[in-house]
Symmetry: C2
């Protein structure tokens, strides 16, 4: 139901790391990027999580960069042997990769000469032609090459990199969002009428989202679209629909 009005700017996220797939680390980056790019008028259309395996990363990068305006990756750009994102992205794009003097210069701000050992210099490996993305926290940069934006996995660093790269991105018309509380109404008591209403408002995406807390459901209806008047008209229609209903006692 994400039909967009006009030309849209789209994105995907690729989360790279065994630690997410084993459940050891709970991802916090997907939700942050999703909210962030949505606010910029960029439609996030797909997310994938893959392990620290070069063939998997290359295949996912190529599938996603071909399909969406931007691909954001998180994770795998540290100094250890399991940090293979930069090399994998270079391979996916058929670009050379080497230690980049610009990245080394950034790292020198926080690393003494003797500290820049071989492992740390891996963090300065940047594919040919990439633009660097500043890392105010630990200095080793992310990068943007073609439409692929490579960021750290540590959330605070990823967030700083996203702030740094955002002004360089093409953005679309911002999505207008209206959220209506369905009160104590069970979803099943309005679902059929809401489906018909959604069919009557094709430029507006209408979702119904239950949350279960304290032994009961609480539902919200979210309307999204790029045309403010269309969203407002659909929201009025949903309000009218809800106000005419009383809930039964069914769970959903």
């Amino acid at each position: 139901m994400s039909e967009s009005v006009g030309e849209s700017v789209t994105a995907a996220i690729l989360v790279i790391g065994d630690e997410i797939l084993s459940g050891r680390t709970k991802d916090k980056n997907i939700g942050h990027i999703a909210e962030y790019v949505t606010a910029l008028g960029i439609d996030l259309r797909e997310v994938r999580v893959v392990p620290d395996v070069e063939d998997e990363i290359v295949a996912a990068v190529n599938a996603l960069r071909a399909r969406y305006t931007y691909l954001f990756t998180t994770g795998g750009i540290g100094p250890t042997h399991d940090d293979i994102t930069a090399d994998s992205v270079a391979r996916a794009l058929g670009r050379a990769i080497d230690v980049d003097p610009r990245a080394v210069a950034m790292m020198r701000e926080r690393y003494a000469e003797g500290e820049l050992n071989a492992a740390r210099l891996r963090m300065a490996r940047i594919p040919e032609g990439a633009a660097l993305i500043e890392n105010p926290i630990s200095k080793a940069p992310g990068f943007m090459v073609e439409n692929v934006i490579v960021m750290a996995g540590v959330p605070s660093i990823m967030q700083a990199m996203l702030d740094a790269v955002a002004p360089r991105l093409r953005t679309g018309a911002r999505m207008q969002v209206e959220t209506l509380d369905a009160g104590g109404l069970a979803e099943g008591s309005y679902a059929e009428a809401l489906g018909a209403l959604a069919g009557d408002h094709p430029g507006v995406s209408i979702g119904s989202y239950p949350s279960f807390t304290g032994g009961g459901f609480r539902n919200q209806i979210v309307l999204r679209g790029r045309d403010p008047a269309a969203v407002a008209a659909a929201a009025d229609a949903v309000r009218a629909l809800l106000s005419g209903l009383t809930s039964d006692k069914a769970p959903i």
Copy 2:
């Protein structure tokens, strides 16, 4: 670095829902399923998030079910028009789908006769040949058909369904995990030696995971493998490596 020893049981997760991609809802299911199946000896190898668009769901279901032992889906099985998971899975598998009397019987435990309207009966639409998965909270069941396990998106319901379906799953040898604290050592001070050590212990996956809190990094080294003796030997080697190091003052 997830090379497994012996025959492995693998899985993927497909999260279905516009609300995750817009950032409105922060997913809590990926981390839960990841930890849960890992504890069962099932290797989670990939995750995807797709919107409420039938073609996208069908394509992802077919890509993932072909590649892994099991595919878990979450979301899109409620009563509203944007709940299209069951029909999409049926289409992906080339199976008929209709209201299933077994599902209706389960729902009757909590829904009065008059409450089972057309929208709620959509929750009883189950692909032909599927086994149902009980839902103790709101009764409308999930299902398992071939190797695809379809669960709710609301975390408490999803968790109950996962508990219900787990005993039916084939499981692998459990992963042995050792987590070593790297203390105040910067990753870059042990990265090169750790990479060499990882090469010497091919049956063990070794990851280094930084977390950034309170202005400094804290790193953990996680060793995973199916052979307890191999994991223990690698852990001893990592301990010896770490104890011989003193950290410099570099950030990573």
